[in-house]
Amino acid sequence: MMTELLTRLRFLVFRKKPGELDEEFMFHLEQSIEAKLAAGLTASEARRQAMIEFGGLESAREQCVQQRPGWWIDTLKRDVCHGLRILRRSPGLMAVAVVTLTLGIGANAAIFSLVDGIWLRPLPIADPSHLVAIKSVKNHAAAGSDGADSASSYGEYSDVRDRVPAFADVAAADRRGLVLQTADGLQMLLAEVVSDNYFTFMGVRPEIGRLPDESELRRAQAPIVVLSHGTWKRVFGGNPGVIGQTVKVRGGLATVLAVLPAGFRGTERLIDPQVYIPQSTWVMWAPDERNTPRTIREFELYARLRPGATLNQAKEQLQTLSADMSVKYPQANSGRGLTADWQTKADGGGMQVLSILVLAIAGAVLLIACTNIANLLLALNDSRRREIAMRAALGATRGMLLRQLVTEYAVLAAFGVAGALLLAQRLISLVPALLPDIGYPLGFDFRIDHRVLAFTAAAGVVSVLVCGLIPALATTRTSPLDAMRAQLPQGGKLRMPTRKVFVVAQLAISMSLLITTGLLIKALIHIESMNLGFSSRQNAILLGMGVSGQGPQRQAEFDTIVTRMKALPGVKDASVARVVPFPDSGGGATKIVLAPGELPSETAGTPVWFNSIDNGYFRVMSVPLTRGRGFETQDTANSGRVVIVNQVLAKKLFGGVVVVGRHLRLGRQEPVDAEIVGVTGDGKYADLNEAPQPYLYLPLTQEGRSEVTLIVTTAGDASALLPLVRKTLQQTSPNTLIMNTQTLTDHMRFVTYINRMAVWLTASLGGLALLLTTLGLYGITAYAVSRRTHEIGIRMALGALRETVFWSVLKDGLKLTLAGMVLGTGLALVLGRGMSSLLYGVQPLDPTTLLGVIVVVLATSIAALIVPARRALRVDPVVALREE
């Protein structure tokens, strides 16, 4: 009822004056006494009986107060105030506790925010949890042969859409580049070419403009594009007038129809597509793609189940379809099958493992922080035992005492959570600078949102429970009688061992984290010294460019560009190649190579990664030539076809026999003969962890391509040279499109990005863990010494040597350290197994790492122990004995 609610609200704000209550009671008593006097009682008797009748004044008062809605807020406020007073009473201890909590929870909040942004947060589409991802997989995947091409052709997309009844709808998306002509010249945009039903399928509403549906797009006569929020802001200045405008793209003209809302990235997690183009528009620009052969797999397929249909039904129907397709299109589909899974499961891959690992480690650090605080609070509560006993004696129930203590800890945790959020905010703001520059906007979206807030709050609550409840229960367990005795009771039998277990666990966790860090650093060093088959550490610019023209004309353009670049001041050398090792697209394109004597057929041959290079590539990239020659000017489009193979391929094709001068065949059904003119050393081509791979080099003159990478090396700073290179390129070849630019160092950074991130994370968390553990070890030893003051006093009075006392303290602590180190090494072994893919063959029990970590942990432990041990030395027997 409205009035009732209003009244309640009013009383919630304005409380009754306490005096009123007393005045009312007094009036009542007076009336009662008067009535009794009138009945003939004596004054004192009347008063006595009235008081008896009335009952407990205080309890009546209390009950009246408790009628007030929200009276418990007052109690809470009182508890909180009391908590604050207690915290202020031991500021040092509390500062340590708050800082510990801030670090522990803050690290977790930051890491959760990262993990959430990369992998956990649901995609910004309608009903993300029911999105099905469809992949095309090989039935007998040849290990590492030609990358993970699990995408599908557009023809397959149409088939899946028409012939799998379990799916309500299917959408397709493919990442391409789109050249946009802007006021600042040509720009390469990351485009998502999508099936016409995509926007409806994803359930996205435009920020401005209008998203057409499928039938409308199919009927459309003119090309259209849809901009991402970022592109709209960056390229078009956030001008709402862009809707309906015509923009020039490389394929022709297009009308901007809509801008998508900020944060929409479709199904992409790591990148942020800049423009969305319906397939119907794309084929207007590239008519030959209307009938792309089914062997070209470029589209990722996503589906939604029809109501009532199950994923298993969909899988079965996909199998039937796959069998059908492999008969119909053997070249594209034999040995392949379509499979489906929830997108949430298919997503992430390696990131997922890493994320869970890192979250687990961060959780362990928080656990360390909590046990530390639990120890601190136990110590603090010991000194408060008398206060608590007093309260119990005055009638506080154990529940009330617990409530009081837990409220205090909640105050502590509130400070910790607040600090943690600030810390996490700071840490997250640092992350973009740590991300590699790949030339495209990254889709990582790290922020403190309600999910992170909820996580942090939960971490705070759990921390309070873990680190508060144990001390609280232990403290309130003592009977008032025990506690009131002058003597401080000896802590229960369980308590010291509990703390020791805590410290040993902390040591074990820190130890294992540090070992892991050591292993990861060692792996990074190992990568640095790893033979990659080319010189990855020189100063070079990598510039992706699209050169116009065909055949000899394009070749001449390449030569002009390289010659001009070489002539620039500061430039050492220059070269043009299709790709450099570790291309963003993984292994990249493959050529089919037939083994000697193998007959051409639909399924013959092995796919081999290849690169098209100019004559200077080996020189510029320092790729060692072990036999024969490199490509030379005599290798032209009209001369006989030549190839260079690496040692793995040479061995694979011809065994150990000399291969220069022999021939191999390229292509599956109509193979082309090519002479092997040279052999290079082996290297890494797509992944640092890959097994030795066969590799093939073709001359650019014979295997041309318009999109290539210009490599310019310098003795000086590569990034400083970039503007000059860019400008020269624009002057020399105005029609050439500059796509993305990067230094070789940045490129290699990206290759080892995950490794360096892992080192960074485990190192900072391991360091934090060690710091907290040291504090914990110090705390427990200091506490033990303070408890033993009496005993030490007696010993010294009886003539114990100072060294003996010193060692007895140190020994107790070192025992814990040793136990922790043994456990930690075991734990590290388990962790090392889990991340063997990041360790590149470094053994989990690497002796140098182990030794290094043992030294570090031992040294910090001793440092933590020395302070309390010295304090034990300063115990004055006379004072210590008198104290009791």
């Binding site: 009035t3 009244t7 009662s32 009546a60 007030r68």
Partner: protein
């Protein structure tokens, strides 16, 4: 003196509302009136009277004002609000239904009692 009967949960509210329906009156008066009307059967302990009054006031069913008592002492007078009057009607109806039901269970028809 007859032993005071324990009041049924919630009945005290009804009694207070009913008493206040006649005229505004202070706490002592309420207790006295209930005792008189019930011929000393119902004695309201102050320990429960005042919390009940506060509860009712917080619910907005009664209101209090300071005034002067019969013997010119400052006293707090409670009176029924419009919402309280409505509440009284609801509670009376509930009471009638309940007591009739109890009477039926105990084998005394409502007619027999009246």
């Amino acid at each position: 003196m007859p032993t005071p009967t324990d009041l049924l949960q919630g009945t005290l509210d009804l009694l207070i509302l009913k008493t206040l329906a006649l005229e505004p009156i202070h706490g002592w008066g309420i207790a006295q009136r209930i005792q008189q009307v019930s011929k000393d059967v119902l004695q309201i302990g102050q320990g429960s009277l005042y919390p009940a009054l506060y509860r009712l006031e917080y619910k907005g069913w009664i209101k209090s004002d300071w005034g002067n008592s019969e013997n010119n002492r400052r006293a707090k007078f409670y009176r029924l609000t419009a919402a309280g009057r409505k509440q009284l009607e609801t509670e009376l109806a509930t009471w009638d239904r309940l007591s009739a039901a109890i009477a039926l269970v105990l084998g005394r028809t409502a007619e027999a009692q009246s």
